[in-house]
Symmetry: C2
Subunit: 251 residues, 2 copies
């Protein structure tokens, strides 16, 4: 049970997220994906298409977590500055990657169509390895502990699949969710005592306000399934003692 | 046109976002809300329910941006540690706020129902002002340039409405979105030249891959509506020169 904890951060790069134009869904997808591998997502940041911001955030995150996953900014247009910023953060050069040039070039029957802008997508920092994707061909790349992916969700997901074999895995977190109609404020003290009894389980309390009514979802999460089950049972017993009929939800 | 730029950051606090259990939608809502006030959202971070992480992130953000908006962690349960963490970040004490106690206490006919857990929601850092909400009564608070809000979206939105009068406003950013069926790689060079001609406009290029087909949305954003219109016209003329019939989208 003392296996090394594998941690990760997500760095979302893009003005369109900060302006509110686009709702980021990549972080949530990556969070769930890492969960299946037993990797803990510990932090996420969103920064604009500004080199100094990308460099500073990347260097803060890559020195702190096992892995960093970036999304966005690796296309062919002037606002795609991620690859250059990553090279700068690592203090390395950047050049056309022969394999990336071959992959991209093969898409065009007329060589004139493989123009400078499209060739830009083959530029990767020195020492980086490509991450392939079957959706748009243009690859992402890995350098050190940083995985650089596209922002378009379908492409990002294809890249995530392809980089999976390169990730170290941890013990998977087990989660049990219990739904109750009792208000948080009535069960909070008892819930706090249960949390104290199960120090290796993280118990979260998430109220919801929906059309069909109010309620709370109580989530027990931990790497020891026996402890998680024990905490869940203690929560259910407590809720029943308060006159509720708690419901376990499928996770 | 040399009005002060008002900047902001969002700090999302909550294990449930990082585990992938919950898709954060508050950041996108706040981004759009700030946009209507001419405030630039410059960064967003998600941190877990861990005091040291909240303190470090808050102190990094509040010293850098005009405003910081936090969401999550101000309820009655043991995992709600935002208020204490904010007090620690500011190096001030924390105590029951008389007005918050009165607001919350008025909800309970039986004084015994206003238990310690519920009273916890009236604890705010010394010197903070309350942010009211009509949805759940439990208030958020403002301390210095930091606005502390609930994580439940309906409550967060009610708080955002109520704190609006306290925000300084900036010049609103104008945006024009143009949709094209031409691939990014074909127009990238021309688009880059247009960007160079309109330095006070930020031109973004966002490819989409949908069932109905591929395409790109080109967005021109800036505070000078004449420049934005000029950039948009230049983009449309360029696209028409490439044989496309570009379409302006309503923003």
């Amino acid at each position: 049970m003392t296996a090394r904890t594998i941690t990760a951060a997500v760095l979302v790069i893009g003005d369109e997220i900060l302006s509110g134009r686009t709702q980021d869904t990549n972080t949530n997808y990556i969070a769930k994906f890492l969960g299946t591998l037993g990797i803990d997502l510990r932090e996420a940041r969103v920064v604009p298409d500004v080199e100094a911001e990308i460099v500073a955030a990347l260097n803060a995150l890559r020195t702190r977590y096992t892995y960093v996953f970036t999304t966005g900014g690796i296309g062919p247009t002037h606002d795609d500055i991620t690859s250059d910023s990553i090279a700068k953060a690592f203090g390395v050069g950047i050049d056309y990657h022969p394999e990336a040039l071959a992959l991209l070039g093969a898409r065009y029957k007329n060589p004139a169509d493989f123009n400078e802008s499209r060739k830009r997508m083959a530029r990767v920092p020195d020492g980086a390895d490509l991450i392939r994707n079957s959706v748009s061909i243009a690859p992402g790349f890995r350098i050190g502990n940083v995985f650089v992916m596209a922002g378009v969700p379908a492409i990002m997901r294809a890249m995530l699949e392809n980089l999976m074999p390169h990730l170290e895995r941890g013990a998977v977190v087990h989660a049990i969710t219990i739904s109750t109609r009792l208000p948080e404020g009535r069960i909070a003290a008892a819930l706090g005592r249960i949390q104290e009894s199960f120090p290796d389980v993280a118990i979260g309390s998430y109220p919801f306000y929906r059309e069909e009514g109010f309620g709370v979802q109580l989530v027990a999460r931990g790497r020891d399934s026996g402890s998680v089950e024990g905490a869940a049972k203690a929560i259910e017993t407590m809720l029943e003692g308060e006159g509720d009929r708690p419901e376990r939800l499928k996770n």
